[in-house]
């Protein structure tokens, strides 16, 4: 079986995997990083979004072998385990942008990608359109939209926030 090596949340990792192994399987099963979720099998729900070399991807439709040598950031890598939350994580909590929590890691990773591409001053229409690839069944999106706008602003104010993906 082939061996794949990459950097996940700043740490070098490698594993012997079947060629068909998806990135999300590698993260969840080999590395036991279970914060990245699988909610569908058609790339629709976005529960599996991670950052690959700084860009949001759906890890359920990315082969692990495609990520050879890449830098991957998952929800577990956004904040120091003993430090404060990332401003976007904090905004989701503050604005009650999650209920069951299952879509939340993907939502937060997608939100950071919206900020990367569209900046810190996000209006409601932009956020709603940009969330095309993420489904939440609990919140009706109302509070997610508010949280992303607030989180984006907080990231601008908060000075040097750790980059979503190094």
């Amino acid at each position: 079986m082939p061996v794949v090596s990459m950097t996940v949340n700043g740490k070098p990792v490698s594993g012997e995997i079947e060629a068909r192994t998806l990135l999300v399987q590698f993260l969840r099963e080999n590395l036991r990083l279970t914060g990245t979720h699988v909610g569908c099998d058609t790339s629709q729900c976005g529960a599996c979004v991670v950052h690959l070399d700084g860009i949001a991807v759906k890890s359920c439709t990315t082969l692990a072998l495609q990520c050879e040598g890449a830098h991957v950031t998952t929800i577990e890598g956004l904040a120091d385990p003993d430090g404060p939350l990332h401003p976007m994580q904090e905004a989701f909590r503050e604005h009650h942008a999650l209920q069951c929590g299952f879509c939340t890691p993907g939502m937060i990773m997608a939100a950071l990608d919206i900020v990367r591409r569209r900046g810190h001053d996000l209006d409601e229409r932009t956020i709603r359109d940009e969330l095309d690839g993420n489904i939440c069944r609990c919140t009706g999106y109302h509070n997610i939209v508010k949280a992303i706008a607030a989180g984006a602003k907080a990231m601008a104010k908060g000075g040097p926030v750790r980059q979503a993906a190094e």
Partner: protein, 787 residues
Amino acid sequence: MSATGIGAAVRRKEDIRFVTGRGQYTDDIARPGETRAVFVRSPHARARIRQVDVSAAKNMPGVVDVLTGRQLAADKIGNLICGWMIHSKDGSPMKMAPHPALAAETVNFVGDPVAVVIAETVAQARDAAERVKVDYEVLPAVVDPAKARSGPQIHAVAPGNTIYEWALGDSKAVDAAFAAARHVTRLDIINNRLIPNAIEPRAALAEYDAGTDRLTLWNTSQNPHVARLVISAFVGLAPEHKLRVIAPDVGGGFGSKIFIYPEEVVCLWAARKLRRPVKWTAERSESFLADAHGRDHVTHAELALDAHGKILALRVKTIANLGAYMSTFSSSVPTYLYATLMSGQYDIPHIYCEVDAVYTNTVPVDAYRGAGRPEATFVVERLVEVAAREMGIDPAELRERNFIKSFPHQTPVIMTYDAGDYHASLKKAMELADVKGFNKRKRESARRGKLRGLGYSTYIEACGIAPSRAVGSLGCGVGLWESAEVRVNPTGTVEVLTGTHAHGQGHETTFAQLVSERLGIPIENVSVVHGDTDKVQFGMGTYGSRSAAVGMSALVKAIDKVIDKAKKVAAHMLEASEGDIEFKDGKFTVAGTDKSAAWGEVALNAYIAHKFAGQDLEPGLKETAFYDPTNFTFPAGCHICEVEVDAETGKTEIVNWTAVDDFGTVVNPMIVEGQVHGGIAQGVGQALLEGAVYDNNGQLVTGSLMDYTMPRAYDLPSFKVGLTETKSPSNPLGIKGCGEAGAIAAPAAVINAITDAIGSEDVSMPATAATVWAALQRVQPARRAAA
């Protein structure tokens, strides 16, 4: 109100783990030596199984075993059951067909499991599942509930595919009222079949410990205790004390995770047989075929009114599609959770509702957010709106004329409404929605070529399910009380054990708020434990907006008992009589003195027991309570939807949404608003986007998230949410429940708005652009002809 007590918008305790990816959902749990299960499912809607050949599959790499329905039957594993007995009009019991966890003789819907492959990895199991050869003799199927009676008979026990022919109300009185009516409004309604789609797919992980002869099941369940009871008492896999069911973090349920499904039964059976842990996690497309669907009614409804718009009577005839087998609570949904709400918020003297439940070769149908009450609300609120339009009365005015105004109010369909103020919620909603400014906005829309419409839904629901005696008399096989246990540790911190569960509702926060307020201790010092049958003795789980109304009422009782006991301990410590001990803000004081003991000191003294003799007072500080409600609760409110329809394309945009709800006491307004938002989104989904479609052969056409339209962020507006409050007199906190209201209210509000906009009542759900465009084409020639 304390900063963390009842009524405070406390930020959720559970969020830290969820926003950092540290939640523990069933699929996140891995057990040493774990195997993976993949099910072989029927590709046919109805077929006889001639033979299942597993030999090629068994030889595939990594395969541990392949098990079939015949082996399950040989091992005498019992059938799945429906736990609510409904009797037909003629007194005969419902026709419950056998439902084995793996089909052995016949398959009855696309997705019916026939075999399971257990392998070292999920990929190996999937590969081997492709090699299981099932020889089917394909049989004709019936899919459309309206044609079920004349279709091929699916189960030997149910001639005409009829499960029951049930009725509620006085048909003669209704007929007499219709004969005397000045106006009758008639509607044919299809309440579209929905697929729940909690974002966490269902999963089960089973492990057998040969040393203790115990089975453990980790399961995506809304009610692990009832799952254990059914799997023990009916399926017969293991006695209750030899089966532990754990529902860890659960990623949404909406009803679909209440039920006891084949997959968890098979995983438990296989784990004991193979002496290896067995895990199954649904793929999404599998969920479409394996999770109970919701709604699916065909209804004809008639409303009789006098010349002033006073409602005289309501007559409803519904065919309810329960799918291929009777799921756990399916029988109750179109009967006692449906017809009993037909009075809506209105004083209707006579109601008669007939419901025929039928089998079809489709996925079983059971409770989905609102369960029966969205269907009832849609019938009543569409009828009232259409009646108002037909009679030339303002829809809000017609509602006002018929509102129930004094309580308690006995409806003709069992329920006794205990408290409410329907005028207050309608008035507040009309203000928030600026109904007065609607005509101006409509003209402005018209200038842009858009048709603007406004629709009301003044809904009611029965929640806090439910008084055990009441549901028992109606056929329910379980009591619907709730339990709570309060364990005070020697240092004064508290664990609350509840028989409810949470799959997004935030009970770890709200239950702790109650404890924090009543015991005067920091909310950080309270933990909530739920979802584990080894920790919590028994409970009825979370559905029907019951957890706060019933579960927190049990908690109130347990807290009161703890305080009573703690006062006895404090009396010994402070050398006073028990009657003189006062407890306030976490401090025990001897009345009229400055002698006091803090909460933590009393908790410690309860355990060290140095100040009292065990004969007088038992050491320890832990109390349990079971609470059985005295009545249902009746949340109600008014939702107003405003839409713009593009006259050229038929596309509907929701431009304003106003919700004013009366949930009684609100424990955490932030969480309550979130529940309202989510409920509306699901209701809007039903009204505009979602609908399960089967072809005539029983193939599910909408079988993935590529084909079944889930609401996305751009489909919805931000919502204006307000509250009114009349406390429920039926529980100690005055809570009514909030979890389902949005999904119940929303569909009628949307369709009332669209039909107002386009000037035609001929719009079915989901009101997609194509549906509305077609309705516009039908209405416009008529308009042109009239002009």
